[in-house]
């Protein structure tokens, strides 16, 4: 079964973990044993039953009532499988949020309707990161609607305020859906609630279900096979993953970056331990190439001679910075760790407003347009064209400091 991966987004304490736990319980995804355990933990802590404890498993998470690290839960709705990724909403844990969200193709943003909560800076930062990661299907769950008397005006105000931001950062507002919910009471999760009589849309699970059906545009496209390295198989085989297109036995391929004019014939393709005539997108393969070069092949991209990717030393990118930048910079791209000799800031974006500003430095938790000068050529594509070859991790003094997408 193909599983749709949904990441939660949103400010801390707006109810992400509670929502996942509640959805899992209401769709029958959790065994009675696990529910009993969460009940026991809740009562030991002297609290009401907390569905969030289905996923929040660390003692510190339960006692401190906050998610520390990302995790996942599964559920099935109308015979379709979903994997829900929980992420922490705290600012200092944003690297854990990005770690989780980077696997999803649908986002479920949680915004609390409680009077003193509402749209917070992290609500917007998370949306900005989702936009960068190319997640274009977003459901906004306006949560805790019960704590605001199921107020229609509050729901509409959140919708209007967020729509302005959504437009500014380049999302298509039409691709967003808003649902008023109570994660705790279950309103509008799996069935319409009478208490929100003014809401005419579908319950949350149906909205997510519908979004997942709108076709995943899967590229055929040009062959791009990322080389991991070599493995032994009666000789030296080139191992890697097909990112797009199809590799065919008997065809002639090139490696980028690589010597000009060097082409290699594909003698054999091993996929899942068997010799096959061709292998398509997503396959982990091992190739026997006639005359494959010696030496390090990791990070190179195999393509057809007539349509190779570019190999560049300079990358222009949008970078979300998670930490102060300073000292030695490196870029993790195509499985390589490449020294970045300079990073020129071309412009800044405040990720809580979506507005451009100008500063000579990159500020943590905001984004920059930048030009990065690497000390070696790497095969790249724009992120819009092929995500896997158009994204990178930025390190400052070997520490994770941000993510970038190639423009």
């Amino acid at each position: 079964m193909k599983v749709q991966v949904v990441t939660l987004l949103g400010h801390k304490d707006h109810g992400k973990s509670t929502l996942i736990g509640s959805m899992m319980i209401r769709t029958g995804a959790v065994t009675k044993e696990r529910i009993r355990e969460a009940q026991k933990i809740s009562s030991n802590l002297g609290r009401q039953f907390e569905p969030g404890y289905i996923l929040d498993s660390f003692a510190e998470e339960r006692e401190g009532e906050m998610t520390i690290d990302t995790t996942r839960g599964n559920l099935v709705w109308k015979r379709k499988a979903f994997e829900l990724i929980d992420v922490p909403g705290h600012e200092e844990l944003i690297k854990n949020m990005i770690s989780g969200a980077s696997y999803a193709n649908i986002a479920l943003l949680v915004v609390s309707a409680k009077e003193e909560e509402g749209i917070e800076p992290m609500t917007k930062r998370h949306l900005f990161i989702a936009r960068m990661l190319g997640i274009d299907k977003v459901v906004v769950a306006v949560n805790k609607i019960d704590l605001n008397g199921y107020d229609k005006a509050r729901f509409n105000n959140i919708k209007i305020e967020l729509s302005t931001f959504i437009k500014r950062i380049g999302f298509d507002v039409g691709s967003f859906e808003f649902v008023p919910i109570s994660a705790y009471n279950g309103d509008n999760l799996t069935a319409r609630s009478k208490k929100t009589w003014w809401y005419t849309g579908s319950p949350l699970m149906d909205v997510i279900y519908r979004m997942s059906r709108e076709g995943d545009a899967r590229r055929g496209g040009a062959l791009r096979l990322m080389v991991q390295g070599t493995v032994d198989g009666k000789g030296r085989l080139v191992a890697g993953r097909v990112l797009s297109g199809t590799v065919r036995r008997g065809s002639s391929v090139v490696m980028v970056p690589g010597g000009k004019g060097s082409a290699y014939r594909v003698r054999e393709i091993l996929s899942n331990g068997r010799a096959v005539a061709s292998a398509g997108t997503g396959a982990s393969v091992a190739l026997r190439l006639a005359g494959a070069p010696n030496g390090e092949l990791r990070g190179r991209v195999i393509s057809e001679a007539k349509n190779p990717p570019k190999a560049e030393r300079r990358i222009r990118a949008l970078v979300f910075v998670t930490d102060k930048l300073g000292g030695r910079l490196n870029v993790g791209i195509n499985g390589l760790n490449v020294r970045c000799k300079s990073m020129k800031i071309l412009g800044n974006i405040d990720t809580t407003t979506g507005k451009a500003y100008s500063s000579r430095k990159a500020d943590a938790l905001n984004a920059v347009e930048a030009s990065l000068q690497l000390d070696q050529r790497v095969a790249i594509e724009s992120y819009a064209r092929l995500k896997e070859m158009g994204r990178f991790v930025l390190y400052s003094q070997d520490k994770f400091a941000g993510i970038g997408i190639v423009e």
Binding site: M1, G73, I98, G233, K234
Partner: protein, 262 residues
Amino acid sequence: MIEHDLKALEEKSVYILREAKIKFGNIAALWSMGKDSTTMLALARKAFPDGVPFPVIHIDNGIDFPETYKFREDLARKWGLDLIVARSAIKPEMSGFSCCGANKTVALKRLMKERGFKALIVSIRRDEHGIRAKERYYSLRDKEFRWDYKNQPAELWNDYTSKLGATDHLRVHPLLDWNEIDIWNYIKRNKVPMNPLYFSHNGWRYRSLGCTHCTVPLKSGARSVDGIIRELSTTETEERSGRSQDKEKEYVMQKLRALGYM
């Protein structure tokens, strides 16, 4: 219980196994002769056409089931595995936390020091336990095997992102995405040899296998792989219900993992 697309799971696990070997060279895998680590070895045989290119470690406290020892010998011979048996001394009064924690971990630490493995392949899955669900595909451990779960390195797009210190090692988890039922579907489709204890004998079978002190069987009539798959689609209990070390107290699994337990 969700059933994933087996082909997609397999492609990703093969990718991760190759990453571990190609990036870290001197690696090993833990093999308990259970369904998960045996499935991992079946995947490794696909990832590496010349055979599993790393040693497999059994941390042996001497109290595993006789069937398990026999299965170990038979499969190691059949698949040409480079088997390392790391003995850990068991005392009669030991059980649960002290046995799994101190005992098994000590034996593994000794071995890691001797052999200097940079990565250990461990066949845990997210759906086994809430604490295991918090893991990454690549999980950093220091010399003392500590898991700094409150400050895990970022991990994006299946790639490991932080630098390994001289005495650190990585736990690599190629089966993290798999559910229990996926394992059995894979065993069925690929005819992976299995430990006979998983199948019902006189109305009882083991759903999760540990050593003789801490594992209890469950009532079951499932005598075949198909029977197990049917049973799992309606179960209301957790996979590790029969593993007493998880149950002694709340958060035992968290404490065990923080100390380096698998």
